[in-house]
């Protein structure tokens, strides 16, 4: 589903990603852990072209992200083509980024109605069903500032699902939440994983990574240090850096 080969990304003179090689299979749940500044969020943002990579190849569902290859040459995609690519990739942000001037339901149906041009009534039904699915069927008319952080993040997940993505990206979805609200968001994500969604999750929730993740990736300083079965990486890390990181967070 996602294939990264030698992905590099620099901001000015600072190299944030120093050659990432990763592969995510369909229906796989990959969790990425690592210290802050290790490049894990940047990598996630590269996958849906919110950041442009400087070198290497990155493809989603067999299509290069942000480029078209023709006769051995790369052509940048137009803005509208990039937007079309992103429709198949859902993203959930650390700070929710819900649209504050819209109700929960309006947040969820905005993209299907505006981008896919689905009729209002059909959208409403779908939106209500999705909000029901994340446990917010009784809050569809609430504005984001009337919801708790956990509820807002669940609306954000429903909003991303409304575009019926093939891949879901989670950028530290529980890091901005009060501890007692983390569980409700993780429950929704667990349900999503069980339904067979392909997911890449940047997280600090080791429990979630162990129970739900198929693969665990440890990144540090712009490289993948270690990747493998979560139970094995967490209990028997092979690299010194992984060991020292895990000893601090576990």
């Amino acid at each position: 589903m996602v294939k990264a080969e030698g992905v590099h990304k620099s901001f000015g003179s600072i190299e944030v990603l120093k050659g990432i090689d990763l592969e995510v299979a369909p229906r796989e749940v990959m969790c990425i852990i690592g210290p802050s500044g290790s490049g894990k969020s940047t990598f996630l943002r590269c996958v849906n072209h919110l950041e442009k990579i400087n070198s290497g190849r990155l493809s989603v569902d067999g299509h290069l992200v942000g480029y078209r290859e023709k006769g051995g040459k790369l052509y940048e995609l137009r803005e509208s083509e990039v937007a079309a690519q992103r429709r198949d990739i859902g993203m959930v942000f650390q700070r929710f980024n819900l649209f504050p001037h819209m109700t929960a339901l309006e947040n969820v149906i905005e993209a299907p109605a505006q981008v896919k041009g689905i009729r209002k009534e059909a959208c409403r039904d779908m939106g209500a069903t999705l909000l029901e699915r994340v446990g917010l069927g009784n809050r569809i008319q609430s504005y984001p500032n009337q919801l708790s952080g956990g509820q807002q993040q669940r609306v954000a997940i429903a909003r991303a699902l409304a575009m019926e993505p093939k891949l879901m990206l989670f950028d530290e979805p529980t890091s901005a939440l009060d501890p007692e609200l983390v569980g409700e968001v993780l429950d929704v994500m667990r349900g999503l994983a069980e339904s067979g969604m392909t997911m890449v999750v940047v997280t600090h929730e080791m429990g979630f990574a162990r129970e739900v993740g198929d693969t665990l990736v440890f990144m540090d300083d712009g490289v993948v240090v270690e990747a493998g079965d979560p139970r094995q990486v967490l209990t028997d890390p092979q690299h010194e850096r992984t060991k020292s990181f895990l000893s601090k967070v576990l």
């Binding site: 992103r86 504050p100 109700t103 993209a111 009784n138 504005y143 500032n145 954000a156 909003r159 575009m163």
Partner: protein, 318 residues
């Protein structure tokens, strides 16, 4: 159960303390009351005010027509100024340096020119060219290059006819207002969290849709209050239309009565009262517009939410 209620601790005793005295407040109130009394006394006893004369004349038909012109001009100049201002603001934020440079130059130029100077200039555009043609630019040069004669102009307008009165005034005020509005709109757009644009992009929304559906509605919250200021300033600046001249405007009509009858003060007071009334009217409009764009930011419940909450409490009591 009964023993429970008897053993419940008594509510804590309220604090009984002598409050701090504020003699300064009483002195200030007395001074202000005295000043108000002096002011009212002056209004009632000074014969120059001629209240009867003022009330007889401040609603005469030419004055009412003047008030209408002033209001229509204010609303039209603001509407066009806001639309043009949004365009200039979006140009300013464009990644294309030529487009954003042009926008910067527009604001630089039209903000520097006093409105009265700009209005005077617009009124005399008829002297710059006799007729204004719509067609292909540089058509004469183009045609001689191709070895042809004639021109490529489709529509000719007489400059002395179009750049008079109302239209010239509207043009000048709109151009000037757009420069100020562009800065206000830009500030509003930049005040919106960049995460909003990112979330919209991640959902596959294009730049135009993101701007129209996500960014501008949120920017409006920041844009509306200074725009209210601008509207009230515009109401007052319609009195500058005398530079065009547009004589059907409110202030000119009131002053005309004052000069004709030598009752300068009563008509000047009438002018003050008229502008007070009109700007109060505009402030009411601003209140409703602000409420519209603060959805999702205040704590007020909408009607749909009240019924939803009612349904929840009913459901919860089962």
């Amino acid at each position: 159960m009964a023993s429970d209620t008897t053993t419940r601790p008594a509510p804590p005793e309220q604090i009984q303390a002598v409050p701090v005295r504020h003699p300064g407040r009483w002195i200030a109130a007395a001074v202000i009351a005295l000043l108000i009394a002096m002011f009212v006394h002056m209004l009632l006893t000074n014969p120059v005010f001629q209240w009867g004369f003022m009330f007889d004349n401040m609603f005469s038909p030419p004055v009412l027509r003047g008030a209408r012109t002033t209001l229509i001009m204010t609303v039209l100049a603001m509407l066009l100024g806001i639309l043009l201002g949004i365009v200039v603001a979006i140009m300013r934020l464009s990644p294309n340096p030529v487009v954003s440079g042009a926008s910067w130059a527009y604001v630089w130029f039209f903000r520097a020119i006093p409105r009265i100077v700009l209005l005077f200039f617009c009124a005399n555009l008829g002297a710059l060219y006799g007729t204004y043609n719509i067609g292909i630019p540089f058509d004469h040069q183009l045609m001689s290059l191709l070895g042809l004669s004639g021109d490529l102009r489709f529509l000719g307008l007489d400059g002395n006819q179009i750049f008079t009165g109302f239209f010239a005034g509207l043009l000048g005020l709109t151009l000037s207002e757009a420069a100020y509005m562009a800065e206000i709109v830009r500030a509003g757009i930049q005040a919106v969290d960049p995460g909003q644009t990112e979330a919209a992009s991640a959902l596959g929304m294009g730049r135009g849709k993101t701007l129209r559906r996500i960014v501008l509605p949120q920017a409006m919250r920041v844009i509306v209050p200074p725009t209210g200021n601008e509207t009230i300033a515009m109401l007052k600046d319609t009195s500058l239309l005398i530079a065009v001249p547009v004589t059907s405007e409110l202030n000119f009509q009131l002053r005309a009565i004052g000069s004709r009858t030598f009752q300068i003060i009563p008509m000047a007071v009438a002018s003050i009262l008229w502008y007070l009334a009109l700007s109060s009217l505009l402030m009411i409009g601003q209140h409703f517009i602000e409420r519209r764009f603060s959805r999702g930011f205040g704590s007020r419940e909408t009607r749909a939410q009240r019924s939803e909450r009612a349904a929840r409490t009913v459901g919860g009591s089962h």
